[in-house]
Every structure is written in structure tokens, then in C-alpha cells.
Subunit: 302 residues, 2 copies
């Protein structure tokens, strides 16, 4: 088993879907990633920042799940990051109604001494400058550095973003973002251009259409589970990343075989995520439930 | 091996893509279906109609490929069905520039005596009234009736369409059309509603995102091959249907196992189709090429 460090936002979300509305619930990429990865490897070391409005019970719940929160700074003079969004009927499109950066605006990631023996680093979606700082502040290079990003950084911080991309082993990105980043429509060609930017390995998430792994010239595909109801897609991508890196850290391997399994675990966890509001779908899952879900994925293509 | 009868248009297409333009090339659902199915089962019995402008060399080529064209009527007083379309940069959207029904406007399908011992019937995309006539004109019920349709018939001929759907075993339909037909966004729920209309088996094509088979409560998924270049998507859905029914007729089986294989063969043939203009991609393929392409599909998910 390898040590796992993740960085990402721990925040509040207000989410509206055709099925209902949830106000100021626990959210953030760092939350989804670490909660999910904790099913595969405990502890998950988390670097993040929250504000004076953050609920102690949420932190306590995360600790209980197996997350080491000694790297989560608590600012007394600012509020937590807040995002509000609304999904449309098809659940594939959403409007951002509000973004309050708050503590994230001045986030200076501090990595506790106890985190510094890092084997696997998962850079959740954050400002590329902060992602790069985390890499720089580790005393030695991890075995594998995985990063996630989003369209906002591609549109407005391309230079910073390219610097980080040049320093990671795996880029996880969604279909539209891969096209936006490279200007290529074909995902095969887009993945090759991302390889040329640095990462040897590229994961392209296609939402309800599954995900592709481009691994040193080989391709693996995992479908999304056809679901009757997608209740809330928030955090599905982060959950995927958490399952992906969690399984890799558990296996302490970066082989094609391990990464293929990691794609399936990531997808299985994401399928739990979208069935409920916020993090609810990824809480209190048994190993048996997870393994049964993984079996469903396997039977879908066999 | 079971006898295979297919009905569908044999026509001319003018196609414009970002890669070029091809004028009045051989096209039509019946053409793509029968050419593809002929790799799996010879002869493929074809019921169709062409006009006085049709090229004998195209008919000769189809015959040579193993298609029985004794059911293809040749009208001396009308022209062949003609379609012109233009694809946009992402290749997922197209505009129809022109549709000339010509011989299809009065198509009265005649089924030669030699076709009447039909095991497998593939109803290519056509007016639902004509599809129903073909079913009615067979002296006995085939082992399996598969139909394809499109948005045009759903929008304007829903009653006729529902009659045919009520009389088939398998409906092949694309994602948007499944949603349009049922008013359901979830494909799982849409497939269940289509089951309630008649067909026990539903195939939902998702284009570059693969295809789903709903078989008596079980689900199978086949991805599309990630391709560097999609040259011309015209006929890909018909080619899929041709590979699907062709493999089923070859195996003379309607088991879940056979249909799963048929999904992979259909997808493999469709991946050849989109690599070239018109039918060019599905001509002169060797069994070895087809089996190698099928292996690529298997390796993608294993």
C-alpha cells in the first residue's frame, strides 16, 4: 500500500436539480476525492482550507471515514468556499448561480511534516498555481502525480495550467475540456497532444458515456452504468478520481492492469455518487456493495 | 445458418463533410445493411426499389458481394431515391440539404416467392407502412424481426410507427430517437417503455459513444472504437444493423450470447464504415480484417 496525499477544496454547495434543492451541503473536490479514496486506503492525507463557518461535524465525519485532516487549515477570518449550481432536465448541463472563493482566494497550501513521504499525489481541481505549489513543496517526487482540472482554468489560466500539466503523470479531464485544451475533436488525437504536453497517461471522462484511459499507446474503455435515475451529478468526476487514485494507492502499482481496475472502481464509485444528493451516495458503503457494483460493470461488457 | 431477408432503400447520396464532397454515390439503408450482412451470410435477400437512373454496375457489385437482388424492383418511369446532406465539424450533426423520394414515394414491396422461407427479417429505415406490408406479406412469422427507424417517422407518423413496433422483436434506435419516442431521458426507462410497446429486445445506438443492448432485463454495452478520423458517418447505423442481423442469421440463434456477439460485429463493421466515404469502407474487407477489428473491441474493455 502506498501513501496517498490529496489536495482540493472542502466547501459548501447549494444544488438544485429537477428532483429538489439542497442548501449549503458538504461539497468540494477534496471532500469527494478523499471520502471516496478512503474506501481503498486509510488514512487519506488531505491538504485543504476551510473558513470560520465550517461545521465541526463535517470535519469529524471525514476524520471518522479515515481522512487525515491535519493538513486542512481553518481560517477564523474568512468563510468557506461556496458554490451554487442548478441542473437542467437532462442533467448534463448546469448553470453556476454563484461562486464565492472566500478562503480559496488566498489559499497557501501547507503540507504537514507527516505528509511528506508521499507515494501518490492527487491534485484535485484547483488553481493551477496552487497545484504547482503542492508539487514544489514535497521533498521528493511521488511515484505518481495525478491532476484534475476544469474549463475555467483552460479558458483563463492556460500558461499556469500548462506548467502543471508538464509536471504530472496522469491528467484526468472531461471530453469537452480535452477538446478545449487541444483544439482537437478526436479524443485519440487530443490524448496524443496531451501526452506531448507532459502526462504519459490521460483519462478522458465522458460522463454518462463512460471514460477512456490512454496508457502509453494502449486504450481502455469503461462504460458508465446505465441508471434509471441520475439524482445529482455534483462531485461525480471527483468521486471517479478518488476511486481511481485510491485503488492505485491500495495496489501500490502503476501498471496498465492496475489502472484498468482503477478506472472500473472510479466509475463504480461515481455511479453511487449520482444516485443521491451531494456526498450522501458515497457515505457508508460496504466493501460488498462496492464489489457488487464493480461486478455489474464487468457484466455490462462481457 | 438462417435465411436473411432485408428491406430498405437503395439510393444515391450526395455527402459533404469537412474532408470533402462526394456526389451521387451509392447509398441507402438497404444497401448498407445488405452489403454488411453479406460478410456473415450469403445470399442476403434484398427487397427494394430503384429508378431509371440507377447504375447497373452498382447492382452488379451488390450481386457479386452475395446479395440476391431479385426483390429489387427497377422502375423505368421514375428516378431513384436521392438524399443530400452536409456534416459539421464535430461530425455528430448534419443538415439534410435535399430529399427526393422519387421511387420510394410509391414503393409497394414485392417479395419474390424464393424469399418467402424467411428466418430473419431486417426492416431497414423506411415508411412504417411499408415495413408493416413486408411483415404482412410473409406467409409465416420469421424467427426474429428487427426494425430500424428514424426521427422523421417518430415526428410525423407515430400511429403507423407504433403499429409496426408492436409487431417486431427487436427495435434498433438511436439515443435521441429513443428519448423522442418515449419522452424519457433515462435510456433504461426508455428501453422499458419500448418493451411495453412490443419489442422484447431494444438496441440503443449512441454513435461515437457505443451501443446498448436491453435483452429481457439484462443489459450489454459495446463501446465505439475511439478513432483518429471519422471521415463520413453516413450509413454507420445501417452498417451496425447489417452486422448485427448478419451475425444472428449466421449463428441461427437469438440467445443473449449471440446478440452480444452481434453487437460487437455490428460495431466493428460500423467502425470500418466511418473511415471512408459512403460504402467504400465496408467493401472488400477480409474475414481476417473483421476478426482483428473485433479483437480491438474486446481488448478495449478487458
Amino acid at each position: 500500500m502506498g501513501n496517498l496525499l490529496t489536495v482540493g477544496s472542502v466547501a459548501f454547495d447549494t444544488i438544485e436539480t429537477p428532483f429538489g434543492k439542497a442548501e449549503r451541503i458538504l461539497g468540494g473536490a477534496g471532500t469527494y476525492i478523499s471520502l471516496t479514496a478512503s474506501y481503498f486506503r486509510k488514512p487519506v492525507q488531505l491538504v485543504s482550507v476551510v473558513g470560520n463557518d465550517f461545521r465541526q461535524r463535517d470535519l469529524a465525519m471525514m476524520e471518522e471515514a479515515g481522512i487525515d485532516i491535519s493538513g486542512v487549515q481553518q481560517k477564523t477570518d474568512e468563510k468557506s468556499f461556496f458554490w451554487a449550481g442548478k441542473y437542467f432536465n437532462d442533467m448534463n448541463h448546469r448553470d453556476t448561480l454563484e461562486t464565492q472563493l472566500n478562503v480559496l482566494g488566498t489559499f497557501d497550501p501547507v503540507i504537514p511534516e507527516s505528509y511528506k513521504d508521499c507515494d501518490y499525489l492527487m491534485l484535485g481541481n484547483l488553481s493551477p498555481a496552487v497545484q504547482q505549489q503542492v508539487i514544489d513543496r514535497l521533498p521528493s517526487r511521488p511515484k505518481l502525480v495525478v491532476m484534475d482540472t476544469m474549463n475555467f482554468w483552460i479558458s483563463s489560466f492556460m500558461d499556469d495550467l500548462k506548467t502543471v500539466i508538464g509536471n504530472v503523470d496522469v491528467l484526468i479531464i472531461n471530453e469537452e475540456e480535452a477538446r478545449q485544451l487541444t483544439g482537437q475533436y478526436s479524443l485519440v488525437v487530443a490524448a496524443r497532444e496531451i501526452n506531448a504536453m507532459g502526462p504519459n497517461i490521460v483519462v478522458i471522462k465522458k460522463g454518462e458515456h463512460g471514460a477512456l484511459l490512454f496508457y502509453h499507446g494502449q486504450i481502455f474503455f469503461v462504460p458508465a452504468l446505465p441508471l434509471e435515475v441520475v439524482f445529482d451529478p455534483t462531485g461525480a468526476g471527483d468521486t471517479f478520481a478518488g476511486g481511481f487514485i485510491g485503488h492505485i494507492a491500495r495496489k501500490d502499482s502503476t501498471s496498465f492492469e492496475t489502472m484498468k481496475e482503477a478506472m472500473v472502481y472510479g466509475s463504480a464509485m461515481a455511479s453511487f455518487c449520482v444516485e443521491k444528493f451531494g456526498v450522501e451516495g458515497i457515505l457508508n458503503r460496504s466493501n460488498e456493495e462496492i464489489e457488487n457494483r464493480v461486478k455489474l460493470f464487468r457484466s455490462l461488457v462481457q
